[in-house]
């Protein structure tokens, strides 16, 4: 018997509170009574809470509770590129330590690569209690097939309770496949994690509809509970140089390590001096710059601040700057400490990609530009004058 939702027509007053509360637009009024479109409803329960007349009932069946007790420990998939552990992995180790502490289990780092012996010390020093270590030339660079197979094999042998992974291009490609293979629940791009101690559940909170709503998601009856986590949201693990992690070395036969796809080359685009997703500071330019040549003022400010260069869709679509710089719905989602928007009006698609930045500075000549509604500091003026003036001031402050 599945979960179900019922509207008691005798109690429904037709007040439409539930219609407004439904994040999925699944409720409409017919003959002054609420009607739920079951093809759209996700049984999230938002309407149950909104209804003041207790006219909506959500029945969640406990179902045949499976025995999940054999699943233990919090795993962090540690992403390495060319032998360098990515900072997101340290953020996850920091968060994972907290979660493991709440659950009273071990924090385990999982690392795959080639010639990565020295990483054991690094992961150990970041607080891992245990390290699952797979070192083989076939795992040198990320490839979907062998990475999926190895992670599946590890999970099937050691039964983790939770697996965390960065919401990066690699992370999202990898664990989406793994979750299907091991029949696990997976929640994308989480920005907050917590533990329900009584039920031993991972509470996974993530933005949806471009950050306009937040949803908390659980995986009640499947293990492991898997989540990808947004970059720069969790705090990096501290270093505990005296910590000695237990190391579990695994090797697998060629069949497990073989890949149908072949990585022919890894190309780094030199223009990208600072990775947008990793950047603490981003200086972004939009159509208000007037032309591609004026991106130089943006780049100059970015250089002084050691910042990454971002752009609005309008600037990218005008071919002023490559797509890899685009921030927003069809570009990248960023959350730096400081975001400086220059000549960007602030269309909703852009705001979606940057509104969780700590401090937002907006410089635009139009005082009614929507960007000012979310900016911590706003300057109404010509970007081509204000930005160079700012660059000058920062140079002075930073002694550059």
């Amino acid at each position: 018997m599945a979960d179900s939702i019922t509207i008691f027509l005798d109690k429904c007053t037709g007040c439409t509170l539930c219609v407004k509360a439904c994040p999925f637009g699944a409720i409409h009024m017919a003959n002054k009574k609420a009607v739920i479109d079951m093809a759209v409803c996700t049984l999230c329960g938002a309407c149950v809470e909104a209804c003041k007349f207790r006219a909506i009932e959500l029945k969640k069946t406990a179902g045949g509770k499976k025995d999940l007790s054999k699943y233990k420990d919090v795993w962090v998939f540690c992403e390495q590129k060319q032998g360098v552990i990515q900072s997101i992995s340290y953020e996850l180790l920091g968060e994972g330590k907290k979660l493991a502490g709440e659950l009273g289990v071990k924090l385990c780092a999982v690392i795959l690569g080639s010639g990565i012996e020295s990483k054991i010390g690094e992961l150990s020093a970041r607080g891992a209690d245990k390290i699952y270590f797979v070192d083989h030339p076939a795992l040198k660079s990320y490839q979907d097939d062998p990475y999926t197979e190895v992670l599946v094999k590890l999970a099937e042998e050691y039964f983790p309770e939770i697996i965390l992974c960065g919401a990066t291009t690699i992370g999202r490609s990898l664990v989406s496949r793994v979750a299907v293979r091991i029949n696990a629940g997976l929640t994308a791009d989480c920005t907050a994690l917590d533990i329900d101690k009584k039920e031993r559940l991972l509470l996974q909170t993530r933005p949806a509809f471009g950050g306009n709503i937040m949803a908390t998601i659980i995986t009640p009856n499947h293990r492991p509970q898997m989540a990808t986590v947004r970059h720069k949201v969790m705090k990096e693990a501290g270093t505990f140089s005296s910590n000695k992690a237990e190391v579990v070395r695994k090797s697998y036969p060629e069949a497990v390590l073989s890949s149908r796809t072949r990585l022919l080359d890894v190309v780094k685009e030199i223009e990208e001096t600072v990775n947008l997703a990793e950047a603490d500071i981003i200086v972004s330019g939009g159509r208000g710059l007037g032309g591609p040549e004026n991106f130089s003022v943006i780049k100059e400010l970015a250089k002084v601040l050691n910042a990454a260069v971002g752009a609005s869709r309008a600037a990218v679509d005008s071919d002023w700057i490559p797509y890899s710089h685009q921030v927003g719905q069809t570009g990248k989602t960023v959350c730096p400490r400081l975001y400086i928007a220059c000549g960007i009006s602030g269309q909703i698609q852009h705001l979606i990609g940057m509104q969780s930045s700590d401090i937002i500075v907006a410089i635009n000549k139009d005082p009614d530009a929507p960007i000012f509604k979310i900016a911590t500091y706003g300057i109404v003026g010509d970007v081509l004058q204000v930005v160079p003036a700012l660059t000058k001031e920062f140079k002075r402050i930073l002694n550059k």
Partner: protein, 266 residues
Amino acid sequence: MRQKFIMNIIVCIKQVPNTTDVRIDPLTNTLIREGVESVINPFDAYAIEEAVRLKERLGGKVTALTMGPPQAENALKEAISLGCDEAVLVSDRKFAGSDTWATSYTLSAAIKKLGAFDVIICGKQASDGDTAQVGPGISAHLNIPQVTYVKKIEQISAASAKVERMTEEGYDIVETPLPCLFTVVKEINTPRLPSMRGMMKAKSVKVTKWTADDIEADPRLLGLDGSPTRVVKIFTPAPRKGGEILNGDTADIARELAELLKDAVI
């Protein structure tokens, strides 16, 4: 001369609420859904365009596939107007409450029923859920290779393809055998507008409609029953408040702002 071969391409699309229309009710702090238009997920437009371009270059056909409520048929008709040849809507009340696991299972079951294919193309993610999990999920269910975040198809033949996969630092060049699944990013192309012929075709096209029984799916793996995850709470983040507007002479404002930001930049 290059040998032409017949490409059988499947594009998976999703109908989503148009984000430009998404507004928050300032009183109730909830999403206003009335009058919100449904559109094809913006990323799927690039998937459709790439599929149609492959077909035009190599010959073959493009089938647009979606899972959704009956009104998702409109998204499929739009896909036809953009050059897709056939359209399949998988729709059943049993799919209600599907998470990405159940969605990718359902779509993979529909793809199995469609028969042999060379390439499946999906947008990198949908603009409402933003998970990027369904594409890889489909390839896992079908046990075919995948390349995600594809920004260019450099070469494609009957047996294999060479593509560029976008990464945080640049791109990888990856070779994959066919059949395979690609998820594509915006950089891959510029989608065309619907053609007159396409719009005529969209009017007359008969969208194939399949239920859970039609795709011979395991009912235990569908909808809420087949979904490991549950949404337990939905809330609206406190809207970000606008801050101060600095006024005055440019040099003065710049000095003031630099001082205010001092701690953030050092």
